[in-house]
Symmetry: C2
DNA sequence: GAGTGGTCTAGACCACTTT
DNA sequence: AAGTGGTCTAGACCACTCA
């Protein structure tokens, strides 16, 4: 007669008991087997529900100790960072790209740190601007590690933006972002159609392939219309 | 004789084949049963490996169609937003808090939109500054929905910051962040020890309890030393 | 209608942690 | 040593989507 009990059902019920205050932060909740019995389902079903709640940071689990309601000191949100061209086209604007410069450089101390280089390496330095229609959307300054991606030397990046070429050419395994605000220098203001000193949202990103950094990039956006969005729940 | 095959083992092997280019972006990979056969494990084991890869955005799965290597157009990073006081204390600085104002207000159109209010509601408006030692770290302007948290009226927030009180008092289920850069107004510059026009990193956050917004807050940080970090992998 | 992923089961054993 | 979560199995049925 009764439908099978889904892990979502279990998850919702546990959530409800946490939100209603029936199970308070720090408190131990019943063990998997007990919950499975009370819901009339298999332990695996309860396990999956609790595992997802643990991944979301709502409960903390330990073998032998059991499962506790987490003390919500901080919680993680998911930040989506789309490809520039799609982001622009999603607004209905025409995507346009301009390469400013491309040259081989050595790694100065700043770059050696940013790219986690252990020795002197040759890098490809590319500067470009991404436009939404006629409006500058993002100024990009990028260094590509030629030890990891030597094929980049064969690319002029005049018509294919480096981000797209890299995405399609070199799969990555890990990424790190640093987000900050900065005032536009005279040079950047010129590229982004801003006044000197206008606020910009700056994203610095390092992309890894296994243990090596593929590329380090600094992307600057006009602060008055660009936003990042992150959510959780 | 052979050890059982773990889902992590399967996950690593699939990842390896993607990274090595053996399975290219957009390409269909073998179905779960075929992989299970080739690994000599149960289909559930393969399923879990592929599910996690799908959650990480590396593959895309559809019933009937099968599993494809994702075109990595965008990928999600996890943004950790800690509690201000802990964030400051983690740097070794002393955390200090000052309430600037607290008053009841009605919901103007801007607030009704931000707080997703369907009708006129009373809100508690609190302005405060968080310090790292003697240095202003964050200016906070917050509106609390008194329909959801009427008990907030009993709090003066003179010594207990509203974020901490809310965290401990009202569990939340969902959160949304908007991150942008802005130039400091004269008033904000004064509060944050900046010059007028200096870049600030601004985080706007809405926190939900079920279908209702608990609070809307705008947090402004000096741009020259505050950064957000996000990672994935 | 058929083929794929999505989920649930019932049982088993393993791994970690505390007693 | 014992108790809890973590995982794997083998099989089953369901749900979605495509032809």
């Amino acid at each position: 007669m009764s439908a099978r009990v889904s892990y979502k059902h279990v998850k919702d019920h546990v959530l409800e008991r946490i939100r209603s205050g029936q199970w308070r932060p720090g408190e131990l909740i019943p063990k998997e087997q007990a919950l499975a019995d009370s819901f009339g389902c298999a332990r695996m079903t309860v396990h999956r529900a609790l595992r997802e709640l643990a991944e979301a940071g709502l409960v903390e689990r330990r073998r032998r100790s059991g499962t506790r309601v987490a003390l919500q000191t901080s919680r993680n949100a998911t930040l989506e960072i789309p490809r520039v061209d799609r982001e622009i086209e999603a607004t209905g604007a025409h995507y346009c790209y301009q390469r400013l410069s491309r040259r081989q450089v050595g790694a100065d101390p700043m770059l050696r740190e940013r790219l986690a280089l252990t020795r002197r390496s040759r890098l490809l330095h590319v500067r470009c601007v991404h436009f939404a229609g006629a409006t500058p959307f993002q100024f990009e300054e990028r260094w590509i590690n030629l030890e990891v991606v030597p094929e980049a030397l064969e690319q002029s990046f005049k018509s294919v933006p480096p981000n797209i070429w890299l995405l399609e050419h070199k799969p990555w395994s890990r990424v790190e972002h640093v987000i900050r605000a900065a005032n536009a220098s005279a040079a950047l203001a010129g590229h982004l159609d801003l006044a000197e000193g206008d606020a910009m949202l700056v994203i610095e990103r390092r992309t890894w392939s296994e243990a090596q950094v593929i590329t380090f990039v600094r992307q600057s956006h006009p602060g008055h219309f660009y936003t990042l969005r992150a959510g959780s729940g």
